[in-house]
Amino acid sequence: MIVFYSFLFAFIVGGIICVIGQLLMDVGKLTPGHTLVILVVSGAILDGLGLYEPLIDFAGAGATVPITSFGNSLTHGALAEAEKHGWVGVLTGMFEVTSSGISAAIVFGFIAALIFKPKGKAN
């Protein structure tokens, strides 16, 4: 039963975050770039307020898969370092923050460039 709920809440929360993105693009007339930046910064702010981790506990992948989790994981790393080392930590923390999404995208982007060619088909 717990497993079923994990899927359900991941679906709903993930879907809602995407709808927010869609509204930013459609109603706010923003480019995808602007939309993603707003979402990432929102994720970072929510983590600063200590609200993002509970959301992950609630929704699982519904909160870790959307781009907002970038902001969260980066801020989380920076906050952890700042907590440990104070002022120095804020600076050194920046060199330790990680996001697997970024590293994965770099690696796979490189691999993709090795094997694929761009396609220009309409459908």
Binding site: M25, P32, P118, K119, G120, K121, A122, N123
Partner: protein, 330 residues
Amino acid sequence: MILFPSKPSIVACSAVAGPVESKSVFYSYFDSVSEDERWGQKTNEQGHSKMIQEACDIVMKKADLKNLDVDFFLSGDLVNQMTPTNFAARELAISFIGLFSACATSVSSVIIASLLTEVGASRFAIAGAASQHNAIERQFRYPLDYGAQKPATAQWTVTAAGYALIGKHDPKLPSVVAATVGKVVDYGEVSPFHMGGAMAPAAYDTITSHLKKRHQKITDYDLIMTGDLGKIGLKILKAMFAQTDATQEELEVFRDAGAEYYGEDEAFQSGASGAGCSASVYFSYIEQQMKTGRYKRVLLVATGALLSPMSFQQGETIPCTAHAIEITME
């Protein structure tokens, strides 16, 4: 408005298109359709260049001419600094002027070619334009494989080239009798996904100005064909003329190459666009229809959006232009 008393003729035409364009309703009028969107070259831009060369070769072959017999090559495309056209000109070795009027280049080049012919500077001149989807899309919008949602007003940049060989008057051939060089019009449209809406005022401006100076009515023409307003842009243009009391009969005269290019296929949304869009329709379908006598007098109005990716990012509106040529068949 410019009048051409000597009526330079369109001696021959050629249209070359890419694989996606095999879905075009004008497919059967094209001279050659490549199965490879890069024409066997390594890059999209090289393929673009190759396509232009092929189209020029075909038009010369049709008129039984060699490079040396052609005095001018007037052409343009949408890639930065028009390198595909420049590189094609390098291979052709014909006196060359690169022209940029965005998607209106197909007509602006014919205007210049006709002028050169009119003043006796040119025996034969090749005029036209081309665009290659991949090369242009990556420059103006997103990478090709990026999953972006495009609104219903978006248009599909065609992979096609259209060229006309302009020579001295021949009564058996369609001839250029008048032209209007358009002003640049900007009504404040900012979305690069709504070109039709940006360009319709330019087309309206050029058409009304041409009609007024020629003292003609819309119905004096068998056809007024705009370049790449798309389905929505054409609707807007018609609405503008309806506003100024054009009758239904008059509105029937208007057609748009971009709107019809891919038929009703919804994958292409509002239709086709790109410099090659109007060029490949004007210099294949329209020319052939005029030769068969279906149309005696047409006004071709190619429209162009004069934006760059940078101007869009800097928040500038999209200025547009439209150039018109009047072609008759005796």
